[in-house]
């Protein structure tokens, strides 16, 4: 199989700034034009293509990017990521229906609420590792859902309806034409990529990476592992919360059923399928896993079987994901030059 990751990295390294900028804009233009590709082979048979681009695809990408910081970069298995998505969504739903605040005003509140939930989860659980951490996070995800289910004040099993659309910024957000939702989420995704890339090449990225590889050695080399693990959780939660706010505002109605363990697992599948730790891989993974079930909806129930089959086959072919994490070595060292050991 062609090594796309190395090819891409090579191209990026060889290019100078104008070429890079041009490449980025070209890719962005193509991606931004996707809603107009609805009448081609890409068309999804049941749901409108532009709606599929927003949910699941765009949302999955956003959430997978957030989860990737926790699972892929820091190596902590989180099976309850949907909880942060739910916190963001419910913040939007409650404030949007009961106060005069609009989506953009609620966004920072929703993100803050999700971050707070992240801290709440992180402080007691981050002393655990591996499987134990996974179990606790799984429990946390379920607790949030069951709490919502049993709280009549926030709609119980019926959830909350009548959540307002975001106010237009010189354009109108519409139900039947979701281009603007798509472009908004695109902006969010680009923003998140930008921030994650920054963090990755700097101190927090190194701290997360060292924690993933050898937590004890990291701690002994002076990395405050507890602090950076909390940061990873909180940062991931912020992205999940932001996605949740936007999701609720677009869907107009949310219910506890939207936030089941299935979603957590699916997002995790996006991360693993695409390539843990590699943001481009994660994006590809989320794109494919978000798109496929809707594309093959005409197979009705069999599509899930197909979905599982694709996962199994691909994970056998590429166990490290479509675009794996492994970094290339920048320079090949000349042999026999200097140091003897």
């Amino acid at each position: 199989m062609i090594n796309l990751r190395d090819k891409g990295a090579e191209f990026w390294e060889r290019s100078n700034r104008p070429v890079r900028v041009l490449t980025v804009f070209a890719i962005l233009a193509v991606v931004a034009a996707l809603p107009y590709a609805g009448n081609t082979f890409l068309q999804t048979p049941v749901a409108a293509f532009d709606a599929v681009l927003v949910y699941p695809m765009g949302m999955f990408i956003l959430m997978a990017l957030g989860l990737n910081v926790v699972v892929g970069k820091s190596g902590m298995l989180d099976l309850g990521y949907v909880a942060f998505f739910a916190v963001g969504a419910y913040t939007m739903a409650i404030l949007g229906t009961r106060t005069g605040l609009n989506t953009w005003e609620i966004m920072p509140i929703g993100i803050a609420a999700a971050m707070f939930a992240g801290v709440l989860l992180a402080i007691p659980t981050l002393r655990l590792r591996g499987d134990y951490l996974a179990i606790v996070t799984l429990g946390f995800g379920e607790i949030v859902r069951v709490t919502a289910l049993n709280s009549e004040g926030i709609g119980g099993a019926l959830g909350i309806a009548g959540i307002p659309f975001p106010p237009g910024l010189g354009f109108e957000y519409q139900l039947l034409d979701q281009k603007f939702f798509y472009w908004t989420i695109l902006v969010m995704i680009v923003l998140v990529i930008w921030v994650i890339r920054r963090l990755t090449v700097r101190r927090p990225g190194r701290a997360w990476e060292s924690i993933r590889q050898d937590e004890d050695a990291a701690e002994l080399m002076g990395v405050s592992t507890y602090k950076y693990k909390i940061w990873a959780f909180v940062f991931g939660a912020a992205i999940g919360g932001g996605a949740g706010v936007f999701y609720a505002s677009r869907s107009m109605v949310i219910a506890p059923d939207n936030f089941t363990l299935n979603t957590s697992i699916l997002i995790l599948a996006c991360v693993v399928f695409g390539g843990m730790g590699n943001i481009w891989g994660v994006i590809v993974g989320a794109t494919i896993l978000g798109y496929l079930p809707d594309r093959f909806r005409f197979l009705s129930d069999a599509r899930l079987l197909l979905f599982g089959l694709v996962l199994v086959v691909f994970m056998n072919l590429r166990p490290e994901g479509i675009l794996p994490r492994k970094k290339r070595e920048k320079a090949i060292v000349k042999k026999g030059s200097g140091a003897s050991i």
Binding site: V195, R198, L199, R202, R203, P204, R206, A207, E209, S210, Q213, D214, D216, A217, A218, E219, L220, M221, G222, V223, S224, T225, Y228, W231, F235, R325, K326, K327, E329, K330, A331, V333, K334, S337, G338, A339, S340, I341
Partner: protein, 258 residues
């Protein structure tokens, strides 16, 4: 006599019923190379683990200068100026050589996640300074040509040296080396001895665990011997070498002599 920089006082640690260390006292003077030797299972690495905060002593204290550091967080102890290497190599294999050292230097950096996220001028400055510093350390240790290689792909000897470089990255006062020459051939051991001396001459204090006697006798200023969790000798290399107790610990005692 130069002043004591690290002081282990009556250090005892028990794991269940096993007393791994029993009332060990050890003083490390500023600027010296102190070798810690002893048969397998004598408690040498346990001493390192107590100093670096991996274990808490059952009783006794570890003083860095005048400050008791036992019970402090491990990363905090590193920040106070103690760095170590590992007996079994524990590098960050998926990082490059350079990144491994930079990860060490990060303990001296002040910018955290928020500063890095917004790319403050200070964060840029620190990142750049870290790269420069890491290269300097790699040159000092003699492995700068491997800077961009992934740590897991490095030759064994370079990995061992990188362990030292990464520890130096944290700008320690005291460097703890846990069997740095394990698996080296005689030529490599000679080179390593020169490196360790060079590190000491650059102003670091070194506590060294080693099994290779010729290496130890060649470079250490003082040798402390552990046996079954007890310190049985602590003196100049030449004196320790002829200490009957030490010889007995290593070779056993003839039956008719006991």
């Amino acid at each position: 006599m130069s002043k004591t920089i690290l002081n282990l006082k009556d250090l005892t640690i028990k794991f269940g019923g096993v007393t791994a260390l029993n009332n060990v006292n050890l003083e490390l003077k500023e600027g010296e190379i102190l070798a810690l030797i002893g048969p397998n299972g004598a408690g040498k690495t346990t001493v390192f683990n107590l100093i670096t905060g991996v274990y808490k002593p059952t009783s006794g204290n570890v003083f860095l200068g005048d400050v008791a550091i036992d019970g402090k967080k491990r990363h905090h102890i590193t920040k106070l100026g103690i760095a170590r290497t590992f007996q079994n190599i524990r590098l960050f294999g998926d990082m490059t050589t350079l990144e491994n050292v930079i990860t060490g230097t990060d303990v001296r950096n002040k910018v955290g996640l928020i500063g890095s996220m917004f790319g403050t001028p200070r964060s840029r400055r620190e990142e750049k300074a870290s790269v420069v510093k890491a290269h300097e350390i790699l040159k000092f240790i003699g492995i700068d040509e491997y800077a961009d290689r992934l740590a897991k792909n490095l030759p064994y000897g370079v990995q061992r040296r990188l362990e030292i470089a990464r520890a130096l990255g944290t700008e320690p006062k005291i460097l703890l080396l846990d069997e740095p020459a394990a698996g080296f051939n005689p030529q490599e051991k000679v080179e390593l001895a020169a490196t360790i001396k060079k590190i000491r001459d650059a102003g670091y204090t070194i506590l060294l665990i080693e099994h290779d006697m010729s290496l130890i006798m060649g470079i250490s200023d003082r040798v402390a011997v552990l046996d079954f969790g007890q310190k049985i000798a602590d003196d100049l290399p030449s004196v320790v070498q002829n200490n009957p107790q030490v010889i007995a610990a290593y070779l056993g005692v003839p039956e008719d002599a006991s």
